[in-house]
Symmetry: C2
Subunit: 489 residues, 2 copies
């Protein structure tokens, strides 16, 4: 029976990063994944395919040029479904090759099969080779559960993978429907809804909550909602989909509990995902999952309640971002093998690859208010930068939040082209303890969108100056509420 | 006779920023410019038009999609010269409007006319209104000379603005020639040569020096040269253009002093620019310029040798970047009116808007070696990032240089899509005193090109670790040279 210092269940971002880290620390490592190709959801049905689809859609639709050439501008006359699949297949192949190479170079072994616990330190892998099923047992020093998630498929939704899809089956065979209804206004729902809207497919987005993406800054989300509607998308918020029926022509009809109906050629149902933990034999080691299949861990070490068993990535829940999962995997491996590593106190960026992109780092205005920190906000519009104008950008906003007393940057929130790249400038300043003055005093390439940082910082800076000079102590009765009121009228 | 606290000659980036700064300090400000529209070279013949031309060329040629769809891919079948001019005109109009609005909002007065000194504190403006020429005299507390530059037009070159152009006349009427010879491998020459090459115009670039852009990191310039040739451009380096003759069909032929000849439908001659100082009456205040018309200033205060007279922007020479000119203007205004301001010790980014873009911050490898600092380099290729692959990028490099002892980041150099935006991440880390560990320890949005920072940093990090572990003290005779040898084989 083979023995490994570290057995990693799953080869997505968390598993991959943990495996490489442990190998670099000189440990013997086995990665078990039941897909025939490594990479996990990220490479096969999640991040990479959806971002490739997005890029293809933007290229083919000429989206980035519409500011100049008008809404009816198309770079390519007829967009066919093959255009969408071709690039996805090539990107996916490449990602798998890179990952296999990385594993090989670091001496990480891989095994195709479904792994499960059979008591502490014992992993059984259900394998299939040349038509034969068999089980292989390996002994594990430490184990990382990085199996990720699967789409949540509620029993009352008639998934048929023909015209009612979950996000995995939807991306497996991308096509351009005549109309699309997206159920679920989380990250996945918003990404697909906006991508297909950019391809001029009529889209309806349905969510039971009144607000989309409620973990992001409200003002930025307001901007997104405005742009969605402006591009012709229909939003049906505040109503749960009670059931889906089929019309005489076979098209699905979403029936909302409040009586509203949404008909479309295709329905994409994205009401969350659940941990792919069902067949892991967790009971044999005394581990429990919550009702959505997620595991609880210590958020610094990523160890579960059982010593030597770690969990990282989407299977531990929010934020379910590939970049964060990698850091979690690395933290877990370092803790497992006594290497110093800590990501504490560091602000991670979030990226939502909708059209346009959203990205954020640090605190939202809601969080700052909740924490009762005195603050000021500054805003820049991309069209206020020369580069934005050159690129014909009539949308795009950068919002900066700074503390009044320390002048430190608390958060940066961007919507617009390149947001997910630009956010790292704000991240560096936040994580290195910089203040609003950094942006005021340093020069930026001209013309760039990054100048938005300077414009927003000057906006903050002016508010800090003006208010410091103008404040007059009034008798209590006449005074305004103590809560800082810093927003533009 | 009107009196102003501050008279600014020129309304380009340096003049504009200085004027606004002085106005914000409560001073009365007059901006004098002989163009009927404010903005200077930057808005009218330099930065803005050339960057707009670049963006238009990339959009229309489908350049960004060629990685996926092949070299023959075009987003739009027929690119005509009107496509090039239309966007330029719109962007330029917009920039002028923004600037006029900014002046108006801050109470900055403007006057159209040619300004000259008539003794200290006295500016004469040659004006023309309703067909009538007249002179207006204003009294000035302090003066900023921000008149910029004009193309250097050597007497032996037969400029005709029909098929032999300087960079100002070239951009005034952009057209798509059948072939183009660009003389001068500085920033302007390289930008136009690569833009027209991206439009599939056969381009020859001629420069007397053996290397292009020698103020940038050599490895990055090597990359650019490779890409230029790979895209079909011809380089004729190490040979001066002795004269230009015309062939029987009227086409210009560049005759190099070494006997080589380069024929093309259009010649763009970009052999540097010279300070537009000829008619400023500098002798009346005792100021002198060098042989290229540039003024010498204190590089911190931007004051000339005459107290109260400042100069900033391109007229003081290198680096001639709009972003830096703005900071210079601000420094001058702050020094003139006793406001604290210093940009000392801050690394400014450089941006070259060629195809692809180049950008840099901090020291080049050549400068680090010159300063005899022990260092390591790390390199990332954009195609190693998932986003690069999704975007079909087969080129693009990020190079990071770090000090061995302090681990501080000394320089970042990028060639590739978005370089001028991405560089600001490195700039923040450099200017806030961060080390290579910043990039190793912080998480980046996935997928982004910014992940290139992490890849390059890990490359540096591994070299620092490996070499620290492996170094063995040898007897002096057997020891290797003391100079750090950190480059990839």
């Amino acid at each position: 029976m083979a023995r490994f210092d570290f057995v990693v269940l799953g080869s997505g971002p968390a598993g991959r990063r943990a495996a490489i880290q442990a190998a670099k620390l000189g440990k013997s490592v086995l990665v078990v994944d039941d897909r025939s190709k490594v990479g996990g959801v990220s490479v096969h049905t999640g991040t990479i395919p959806s971002k490739t689809l997005r890029e293809t859609a933007l290229n083919l639709s000429g989206w980035r040029e519409r500011g100049f050439y008008g809404r009816s501008y198309r770079a390519k006359g007829d967009i066919v479904s093959e255009d969408l699949s071709m690039r996805m297949a090539r990107t996916c192949e490449y990602e798998v090759a890179v990952l296999e190479h990385q594993f090989a170079r670091n001496g990480v072994k891989t095994m195709v099969g479904r792994g499960r616990f059979d008591g502490p330190g014992r992993i059984v892998v259900e394998r299939r080779e040349e038509g034969r099923n068999f089980e292989e047992v390996v002994e594990a020093g430490k184990v990382l559960i990085a199996v990720g998630t699967q789409p949540h498929r509620p029993a009352h939704i008639p998934f048929n993978d023909t015209n009612v899809f979950d996000s995995d089956s939807f991306i497996a065979r991308p096509r351009l429907p005549r109309s699309l209804a997206v159920v679920g206004g989380g990250v996945i729902g918003v990404e697909y809804a906006t991508i297909f809207s950019a391809l001029d497919v009529p889209v309806t987005l349905i969510d039971p909550r009144a607000r989309l993406l409620d973990f992001l800054d409200g003002e930025i989300v307001d901007n997104l909602v405005h742009l969605m509607r402006d591009n012709g998308m229909t939003l049906r918020l505040g109503g749960m989909v009670d059931k889906i029926r089929f019309a005489a022509n076979g098209n699905p009809v979403c029936m909302l509990e409040d009586g509203r109906q949404v008909s479309a050629e295709v329905v994409l149902f994205t009401a969350g995902r659940s941990g792919a933990t069902g067949s892991l034999g967790l009971d044999t080691v005394g581990l429990k999952v919550d009702r959505r299949g997620y595991l609880e861990v210590d958020r610094t070490t990523f160890q579960t309640s059982v010593a030597g068993i770690y969990a990282a990535g989407d299977v531990v829940g929010f934020p379910c971002l590939a970049s964060v999962s990698m850091e979690q995997g690395r933290s877990a491996a370092c803790h497992a093998f006594d290497a110093p590593y800590s990501t504490e106190g560091k602000s991670n960026p979030y990226g939502v690859y909708s059209v346009p992109e959203l990205s954020a780092v640090g605190m939202s205005e809601e969080q700052v208010r909740e924490a009762d920190i005195a603050y000021e906000c500054g805003v820049a519009r991309f069209r206020e930068t020369s580069r934005g104008h050159i690129m014909g950008m009539d949308y795009g906003v950068l919002k900066m939040i700074c503390a009044r007393d320390t002048r430190k940057v608390l958060g940066v929130h961007i919507i617009g082209e390149g947001a997910s790249e630009l956010i790292h400038i704000g991240q560096a300043v936040i994580n290195l303890g910089g203040t609003v003055d950094y942006f005021v005093e340093n020069s930026f390439n001209y013309p760039t969108l990054a100048e938005g940082y300077k414009i927003a910082a000057l906006d903050v800076w002016n508010r800090l100056q003006a208010q410091a000079a103008d404040v007059v102590e009034l008798p209590v009765a006449a005074a305004r509420p103590a809560r800082p009121r810093s927003r533009r009228a």
